[in-house]
């Protein structure tokens, strides 16, 4: 099965603040990211704030120009396609953003927001087709069709996020990247949105890249989880698999699991994430790792494993011992 999305050695470096004279410092946001996403799959991306999750999603959506690596969407290399060449392909991958409050232009009505994708793509819709399309999209995300005429400030956060999802669905995409879609919503609304996402995936046969820092949510929703630290993938693991990287173990230990029968080995981590302006030569996690050895500081561990479970750690037990 060809992957819907395949990312190889993807990296992005932001130029630092510009001065009139002298060289800029460079900020390494994402580096050496490799993964494949198969049709129908939900891949979760987790990590602390600032670990490059959102940058990764924006790179894949080609909102930022990647500085290294390649992105293949359905076999086509889209890494450096021009805006015009990319335009028809954009119908097939879309993004839903974290902040529903600023993701819709406050001057647009909901109907205008939902038809903007067609307008940008140059799809001429008759008045009747336009109305039908708006109704279809609102029904898809279970919103009242009467909302079409209202402005975003009349809607609740959850309703706005539904509009954001409907707008991403407008052009009939195969892949949707979600950048913490539930992070700014109430817990009760979060649950509704998550159920909506699962239903949409079933009904429309979608593939999701789901960015979140909510580990319980990712565990519930995703088939595989990619753990990022300082712009790099430290582990990709299938749902429910025991974590091998000390960072993943620490993350999971920090998550709340209300089951007294599950005895967990608590890994404590201290200290701060190193800066992307000055990425360490060895393992990025070395400064905080409880198991750190000299090799970790000197040599950066590669991501090794089979198609299902891969880990970037010198000290992780070999994958073969699993199962």
């Amino acid at each position: 099965m060809t992957p819907i999305l395949s990312v190889e050695n993807l990296g992005h470096t932001f130029p630092g603040p510009a001065g009139w004279f002298g060289a800029r410092k460079r900020f390494r946001a994402v580096g050496e990211v490799d993964f494949e996403l198969h049709p129908g799959e939900i891949l979760g991306v987790v990590g602390e704030s600032g670990c490059g999750k959102s940058t990764l999603a924006r790179l894949i959506m080609r909102l930022y120009e990647p500085t290294d690596g390649t992105i293949r969407f359905e076999g086509t290399d889209i890494t450096h396609l021009s805006r015009r060449a990319l335009q028809p392909l954009r119908r097939r991958f879309q993004m839903v953003f974290q902040d529903p409050y600023s993701s819709i232009d406050p001057r647009q009505t909901i109907a205008e927001a939902l038809t903007e994708p067609f307008e940008v793509q140059g799809v001429g819709l008759s008045a009747a087709a336009r109305r039908a399309e708006i109704e279809r999209l609102l029904a898809l995300v279970a919103l009242d069709p009467a909302m079409a005429g209202s402005h975003p400030h009349h809607l609740s956060g959850g309703q706005k996020q539904r509009v954001g999802i409907a707008r991403a669905l407008a052009l009939g995409p195969r892949l949707i990247a979600f950048d913490e879609p539930t992070a700014s919503l109430d817990v009760s609304v979060q649950a509704q949105v998550v159920e909506l996402l699962l239903r949409l995936r079933r009904e429309l046969d979608l593939t999701y890249l789901f960015i979140s820092h909510d580990l319980a949510l990712v565990d519930y929703l995703c088939d595989r989880v990619m753990v990022m630290y300082l712009g790099r993938v430290v582990e990709i693991l299938p749902r429910g698999a025991p974590p091998r990287h000390p960072y993943t173990q620490a993350l999971l230990a920090a998550a709340f699991a209300p089951d007294p029968k599950v005895r967990r080995h608590i890994v404590r981590i201290t200290g701060e994430i190193p800066s992307g302006y000055d990425v360490p030569t060895g393992c990025a996690f070395a400064a905080r790792c409880p198991l750190v050895e000299d090799t970790c500081r000197a040599i950066r561990p590669a991501l090794v494993g089979d198609g299902h479970h891969a880990v970037a750690c010198h000290l992780a037990p070999p994958i073969a011992s699993e199962s």
């Binding site: 909102l63 974290q98 600023s102 993701s103 819709i104 001057r107 400030h153």
Partner: protein, 285 residues
């Protein structure tokens, strides 16, 4: 925006109070007077009646006559045409040019922004009046060069304001959403950014129109504005200043007209500022 303004001025939403309404009405009268001056002025503005020079206000000449026996009321009415049209045209030119440059600089950023803004900022090194006098001295006196001079004198403030608006707006998520659909720079700028940036710029443009009237009058006073016999308020005050004690009405009426229009514009602009909720709007969405 117009609907919103009418809404707010009709006491729905934040109340701007009574002053802007009165000021707005006064402005309307002023503009109407300027438009209708050929029909409502009792005398032609350039008809000289030397026998009746320097007459105090009377029933025949409500505002009196000047040193050539011309009717001051008629000249103030015709002068409104010159002063208001010069101010309006120059601010429109300045505002649209400033918005275009500011929007492009703010959106594109980088070296283009840096160098263009550095050039625009140089106009800020001079007081407006000095800059305008300099430009008129180069271009030669007359209405067209006055318009250009005033437009360039206020260009920097419109450019700066638009640029800062666009720079803030382009980081909004809805811009990323549009980019995700494949929108190009024209769509982003014209459909997403500029409509959201226009309200504060319009308010500043209104308030600046008052300053432009003053600047036009100043240039006219120095003889650098509209040339005789075309009446302008500044020019009238200039000739009236020589007769300050013999015929004070010659300088008084155009001066009052300038003061009244500047005050009216400022009060009305303040009302619009409150009504459009320019400061609060960005945060409340």
């Amino acid at each position: 925006m117009i609907a919103r303004l009418v809404d707010r001025l009709m006491w729905r939403g934040p109340r701007p109070g009574i002053a802007p309404i009165v000021a707005g009405a006064a402005l309307l009268c002023l503009v109407a007077a300027a438009f209708l001056s050929p029909w409502i002025a009792p005398w032609p503005y350039d008809q000289q009646m030397l026998a009746e020079a320097d007459r105090a206000p009377s029933l025949a000449h409500w505002f009196g006559t000047d040193e050539f026996g011309r009717d001051v009321l008629s000249r103030v009415l015709f002068g409104a045409r010159t002063s208001l049209s010069v101010a309006l045209v120059s601010i429109s030119v300045s505002c649209s040019l400033g918005m275009a440059i500011g929007a492009i600089c703010g959106y594109v950023g980088g070296p283009v922004d840096r160098w263009v803004m550095a050039a625009i900022d140089m106009t800020w090194c001079f007081p407006e009046i000095l800059l305008a006098l300099l430009l008129v001295a180069i271009l030669g006196p007359g209405s067209t060069s006055t318009v250009l001079a005033i437009a360039i004198a206020y260009l920097a403030q419109f450019t700066r304001l638009t640029r800062s608006q666009i720079r803030a707006l382009k980081r909004e998520t809805f811009v990323e959403a549009s980019l995700c659909f494949g929108a190009g720079p024209a769509h982003i700028l014209l459909r997403r950014l500029l409509p959201n940036a226009v309200a504060p710029v319009v308010v500043v443009a209104m308030l600046t129109t008052g300053d432009a009237i003053l600047l036009e009058a100043t240039l006219g006073f120095f003889g650098m504005g509209a040339q005789p016999p075309t009446p302008s308020w500044g020019g009238m005050m200039s000739s009236g200043s020589e007769l300050l004690f013999e015929a004070p009405w010659v300088i008084l009426w155009p001066g009052a007209a300038i003061a009244a229009s500047v005050i009216a514009i400022n009060l009305f602009g303040d009302g619009v500022l409150v009504a459009l909720d320019v400061k609060k709007r960005r945060r409340t969405h």
